[in-house]
């Protein structure tokens, strides 16, 4: 772990830029400005915990997200600089050598290191769908994750099972918290996670020695505490009733609301609209596509169909929406009660006829009575 200021210098990052970054990070974590110095100190200190990055059933998208920078930013250096002792995709070591270094870290830093998990954990058939160095993912996670001070599950797969857990989930894919209940776990779901949130989470841990406050799905509130819908730059168009009706139509070209195109923003929580992606350049809704809900526990199944706001219910070979089922229910009750009415009328036909005849007779009596009174 070399001297951090040397590292910054060698990448042409000035002290001023570094401190600017620290205050931006503090803002992302919703900390007061006075915390900037403390954050800088924590990043620069030499007592940073080592990190083991585990990959299971994944697409390496979160690793991509980690490495995606086209120019080195301070954030990348921070993540580079924490000692990433084991990361299959990017480490130099391979084979037994790699596994040995992983085990060495686990032994040496028991209960002190951070374990980052990417990808879901298959549990079907004894976990054989994902094995590394002859060990199943469940086994590795229980040992490496179980001995960590803190686990950060990056991406929806590691957090909640994600794509591999989509129906019919052939591998029995699960998220980390289902394998290690009770462990300190921070979920950074997303497809992929936003690397700025990972940096902020790690720095929070470095600064305070504790995980940030999380919601019921174990997502840090600083990043997942607000609904996408409420911070969306297209929100005004939603309330105004200006909607995209078709891809490429007038509204779409004007940047109107994507609600009718199946945007999941009203039910999803993430800081995409404020933090954005690719160095704050853009995010899906800004680019003209609705939110697909990739940072929710319900992703994938309940977020599909992608271009419908609400999920469908499978059954009888066809997928049915709430409206279809509802219309069938209302239609059926209308039919049942119309039929009931018809049968009731038919069954009472004679009775009704008799009552009518009686009434007619009575009226004629009344009429003749009044006739005689007049005369």
């Amino acid at each position: 772990m070399g001297d951090f200021s040397d590292l910054l210098e060698s990448h042409g990052v000035t002290r001023r830029e570094f401190l600017k970054y620290c205050s931006a990070l503090g803002a992302a974590l919703a900390l007061p400005l006075s915390m900037t110095a403390k954050i800088a100190e924590a990043i620069e200190s030499d007592t940073r915990p080592p990190v083991i990055w585990l990959e299971f059933q994944d697409c390496a998208g979160d690793s991509e997200s980690l490495l995606r920078a086209n120019r080195p930013t301070v954030g990348d250096l921070v993540l580079d600089h924490i000692s990433l002792d084991y990361h299959e995709t990017i480490m130099a070591a391979a084979g037994h050598q790699a596994e040995a270094s992983q085990q060495a870290t686990v032994e040496k830093y028991k209960g002190k290191y951070i374990c980052i998990v990417e990808g879901s954990i298959p549990t079907e058939a004894g976990g054989v769908y994902c094995t590394i160095g002859g060990r199943t993912a469940v086994d590795i996670l229980k040992q490496v994750g179980g001995n960590a001070a803190l686990i950060i599950a990056v991406g929806n797969c590691a957090a909640y099972g994600g794509l591999p857990a989509a129906h019919p989930n052939p591998t029995g894919a699960k998220g980390v918290s289902e394998i290690l209940p009770g462990k300190t776990i921070i979920n950074l779901p997303g497809c992929p996670m936003n690397v700025d949130n990972l940096t902020a989470t790690v720095v929070h841990y470095l600064t305070f020695g504790a995980a940030p406050a999380c919601d019921r799905h174990l997502r840090p509130l600083f990043a997942y505490g607000k609904r996408i819908h409420d911070n969306c730059e297209r929100r005004a168009h939603f309330d105004a009733g200006q909607y995209v009706e078709n891809w490429g139509d007038y509204g779409h070209r004007q940047g109107w609301c994507l609600y009718k195109m199946g945007c999941k923003g009203p039910e999803t929580f993430h800081n995409c609209p404020t933090l954005r992606w690719n160095e704050g350049l853009s995010w899906p809704v800004m680019a003209g596509h609705g939110c697909v809900g990739c940072s929710e526990p319900l992703f994938f199944d309940a977020m599909m169909p992608m271009y419908r706001r609400l999920p469908n219910v499978p059954g009888f070979g066809v997928e049915a929406s709430a409206v279809k089922i509802g219309t069938a229910i209302v239609g059926a009750s209308a039919a049942i009660f119309a039929a009931h009415g018809a049968v009731t009328t038919a069954r009472n036909w004679k009775k009704i006829g008799k009552a009518k005849a009686e009434a007619r007779e009575e009226i004629s009596h009344l009429n003749s009575d009044s006739d005689s009174e007049e005369s």
Partner: protein, 233 residues
């Protein structure tokens, strides 16, 4: 206790004198008010809710249309919730016909018998059912179901609303629903239940008219006036 009104002065020896011996005050004022508040709330909630589901009026016709629809939906939702709470109070503390005391007791042989008599009547297996002041036992079961739907609709509605501020007290009070069914499904059911209430509405309207004819006891007018003729003889 039910007040009575004598109808003997309407007599006169003719065949068409009023068949009722007297009139009974069945539906107290608050119950009737709650009934009609619910009626209008459901109509407004269904209309604005359907608009939220499928915004069929666009801004070219109306500026800020979704904002207004949502405002009306939420405001009516609050009125509906208050009405629901008021009905719950009468369920616990109201007089006999409005309270839980008129629920059929599933452990009572006579009550079970009456219930099945009504089921047989509704399914054409028998021609007659006893005349009952207030709700018949099958109707009571339907109303318990409807009450549950209302409760769900109110809970899910407030929970969906609370998502705008997950740090707030409304979320703390209702957000636990999302731990049981995810928010996408809460929304899905909130939409489906609208149709279930619609299905109930058809049933309700039909049954009221049916019994109005069958028992000639002024079912329809009773929810306006509160009075029903006593025709138990």
């Amino acid at each position: 206790m039910a007040e009575t009104l004598n109808s003997s002065e309407t007599g006169g020896g003719r065949k068409f004198e009023c068949a009722a011996r007297r009139f009974l005050y069945i539906w107290e004022g608050p119950i009737r008010i709650i009934h009609w508040v619910n009626f209008f709330c459901i109509i407004i909630l269904s209309f604005t809710g359907w608009y939220i589901h499928d915004p069929f009026i666009t801004s070219t016709q109306h500026p800020y249309i979704m904002g207004n629809m949502r405002y009306v939906h939420y405001l009516t939702g609050v009125v509906f919730a208050v009405s629901f709470l008021a009905r719950s109070y009468w369920l616990l503390n109201g007089e006999y016909y409005a309270s839980w005391r008129m629920f059929p007791n599933p452990f009572d042989k006579k009550d079970r018998h009456t219930f099945w008599t009504f089921i047989r009547y509704y399914t054409f297996l028998s021609k007659d059912a006893p005349h009952i002041l207030g709700h018949n036992p099958v109707a009571v079961v339907a109303y318990i179901g409807l009450y549950a739907l209302f409760a769900f609709q109110i809970l899910s509605g407030f929970a969906l609303w609370s998502q705008a501020d997950p740090g707030g007290s409304l979320y703390a009070a209702t957000g636990w629903l999302f731990a049981i069914i995810g928010n996408q499904w809460v929304r899905w059911f909130h939409l489906l239940v609208m149709f279930l209430i619609g299905g109930f509405f058809i049933n309700h309207l039909y049954s009221v008219v049916l019994f109005d004819f069958k028992s000639k006891s002024g079912e329809v007018s009773s929810i306006f006036s509160g009075w029903k003729p006593d025709r138990r003889d």
